[in-house]
């Protein structure tokens, strides 16, 4: 009887051991399969580079596809929103007055560009040094640069981010737009 009890206990212990082992292996496999960041590969789907009119609601989906934020200046009715992308992953949102078609070659429209960038703050710092301008601090700690020789554009970047944002306003109000906090992620 005693021997049989011992065998039972050993059997139970072995069963528990096997069960715990199975759980340990399963957890490891699940973490291994799901947890990697894919190394250095940056997967980006092929993009349609044709400019097109979009609704603000479409921008959230775009952000999901791209895997990063897309910056804009908010809704500005009655102006329409035109989306253009290029092969480098840059995204341009233009605010077109009613009646202007997507792809219009004119440059007289407010435009917000979002550019994937390895170290955007360092990029701004180096550009600032080149053009002899000082970086300014914008909302939420963003670094802001306006080239004195091309004041229609203001560039901003957030420390730690991998995006650079350009705000182009042909009326010369790019810096005010940035300072007012109207430039932000669309999603």
């Amino acid at each position: 009887m005693r021997k049989s009890n011992r065998l039972n206990r050993e059997g139970q212990r072995r069963a528990i051991g096997i069960a715990v082992s199975a759980v340990l292996v399963l957890v490891a496999v699940v973490l291994a399969v799901s947890g990697g960041d894919g190394g250095d590969e940056v997967e980006v789907e092929a993009v349609d580079t044709t400019p097109r009119l979009v609704e603000p609601a479409d921008l959230g989906e775009l952000e999901e596809t791209l895997g990063h934020a897309v910056y804009w200046a908010g809704e500005r009715p009655p102006e329409q929103l035109e989306l253009a992308q290029d092969a480098s992953g840059n995204v341009f949102l233009r605010y077109l007055p009613p009646g202007v078609e997507a792809g219009d070659p004119g440059a007289e429209f407010l435009t917000v560009g979002t550019y994937p960038f390895a170290d955007p703050v360092a990029g701004l710092e180096s550009t600032a040094a080149e053009v002899g301008a000082n970086l300014q601090v914008g909302p939420d700690g963003a670094k802001v640069l306006v080239n004195p020789e091309a004041p229609d554009s203001a560039y901003l970047a957030y420390p730690g981010s991998e995006l650079q944002v350009e705000v182009y306003d042909p009326s010369g109000a790019a810096l005010e737009l940035v300072r007012s906090g109207q430039i932000g992620p669309a999603g």
Partner: protein, 792 residues
Amino acid sequence: MFVAWVLFPLLLTALCLGCGLLLEALLGRRLPGPLLAPAGFLVLVVLAAVITSRGETAPLATPAVVLAALAGAALTYPWRGRRPCGWVIAAALGAFAVYAAPVVLSGDPTFTGYIKLDDTATWAAFVDRVMEHGRDLSGLEPSSYERTLDVNLPAGYPVGAFLPLGVGSRLTGTDVLWLVQPFMATMAALFASCLYWLARPLVESRPLRAAVAFGAAQSALLFGYVLWGGIKELAVALAIAMLAATVPIATKTEWGWRGTVPAAIVTTALLAMVGSGGLVWALPILGLAALALWRSDGARALFAQAWPLALVVVLLGIPTLFAAGVFSPTQGGLTSDAELGNLIGPLSVLQYVGVWIGGDFRLDSSWSGLTDYLLVLTLLAAVAGALLAWQRRAWELLLYAAGAGVGSIAVFLYSSPWVGAKALASGSPSLLLLALAGAAAFAVRYERVLGTTVLSLVLAGVVWSNALGYHDASLAPYDQLRELESIGEEYAGEGPALMTEYQPYGVRHFLRKLDAEGASELRYRPVPLVEGGELEKGEWGDTDQIDPATLLTYRTLVLRRNPAQSRPPSVYSRVDRGEYYEVWQRPAELPSTAVLQRLPLGDFEDPGAVPDCGEVLDLAAVGGPEGTVVAAEREPTAVGSLGESEHPSNWLPTEAGSPDLIPHGPGTASLSVEVAAPGRYDLYLQGSVRNRLALLVDGVEVGAVRNQLNPSQQFLYFGRASLEAGAHEVELVLDDQTLAPGSGGPPEPIGPLVLSPAANEDPPLRELPPARAGELCGEHLDWVEVLPPGAG
């Protein structure tokens, strides 16, 4: 490859065995088999350190080590009853294979850590000097080599860990740099052998013990350090383990005072490797052993064993520790919180556990969830291992874990992040050994399936961590550095020389006999630029940018072939051209006014330009009517910006509008390049590449490059093509990653593309009297200079 990876490891192992036998002869007893070669290695370190502590005796280090090994073999002959254990050898060979893989599987006898950390160049400089002259720097001319030594050796920088490498280099007649990686792989094998011994009380099964030692010897952090030249980290790891293994022998009173000799040798070797900082590990281990001896045998027995140990350490340690003053372990750079060295930030103390699934230990793990899981699992296994070791009275194992842990964590907490990370690396195998041995013991004694599962998971985690490190390794370009080695031999004594490429392996080592200096490296002479200032560390500079009077102080110029490189001033002639470098020399004796004035032209993308006519005429007047105007002709280059190419969307520019791209994956970039004149063109692409990158012009492949990492502003060369005038379609086709070492590292920027006319390889010089200088107006030139009367 044969010498580096077969002959050298066998020779070093034979020397270690011989020195181990010498130690046995001194003891009058046999050491445990797995400890014989590791103990011999440390005898070799101490012997070489003592002999090289004085310049007069330094050249005797190599023959002394050989004699010691032969004496050991002779004194212990016949070696009856010694049967090498197959499982010890299996663990050692397994560790050797893991540490060898990143280089051996590359196909070249090169080394890793290139660009990432230049310390290997400094280690090579130490070995070059110390093996011949000790720490004596007299007789050295100013050079980057001399400067590198001068900031380290007189300050007492510990060099013991590098000396066996120097001995092997001299015996095989092979350059130190080609032996660095096999040296570390051999140390790893010795380390695994020692760990096999330490795991013995807990893991009776030999195959299991071999698996445990194999796994613990390749802790991910230690392996990561070896991938960037961490000779000292691995040597210290070995010494800590050996101290824990030999201290119990010292406590055996029946061995008498002789029993203390192995531990004394190990302690001295530790001091020779890292200076007095080695006491951080030695004192806890020796202290715990002393406590145990005092409790078991009393104060008298403790004193009887302690004084011979202390005497040997003092006698052998003093010459090495005080050879050139005391290397203070508390000096600023070693303790400052801001001293990160080449780290990106302070490491996590959790890396001490030895599992870190990622290609670069400086970064967060690529599989953070899995890493956290394995860290917890390993720590739990280590706790089980500690309890089981206590139960089984496996004091060596506990001594190792405690000594390594206390020492490494203390250094981590109280020193700079840079030094702290090294300490973690050296100590980390101890925790892994405890964990793996604990899991193995649990499997045998309690629950086989669960213990084996934990053992397998932890082992798999370690191996996976290191496989990623292997895949991301930064391999040095063997052919390129071999060319520098040849230049160093051929032009020895024809210095001083200047390198404008940032190439520490050149100026600190291969070109040392040319008294070479790097324009952006540690050096004596300032190298001012024409426009003011000097190059930043790591920058490349064209000879046109350098102040002519300074440039002319260098008799020899060793220049990387580069489409942005101007022809050096007219007093220099090219004497050699290889695939990667050109050597230019001026006459040995040259008046300081050999070149009166220069007009450098062009920029980085095209080192030639059409000069302003007025500037040419003004320059011509400087030499007077009898002077000579010299101009280097230069055909214009064609440049293609990759930023304007059609390319995959995951190839990103480093800056908006920059001419380069960082290729985050395979693909093809296509661009059109306009060539102004028909002719033959050399095709260059700025940057570095790990996987095969082919360049096609109008659909025809011109060439391909693979595994070529470059310092700043250097180019990949694809070959030469005959092109008609007009637009040409250029394609750059980057292959996907493979299983080869180095294939998976971070992508580097590539671009712009430069098409340089082949005629620029041999640019004609035009000499004119000042009166005809106007003929140069409108010409595309590299530079114009004026020579004094009679010099033309």
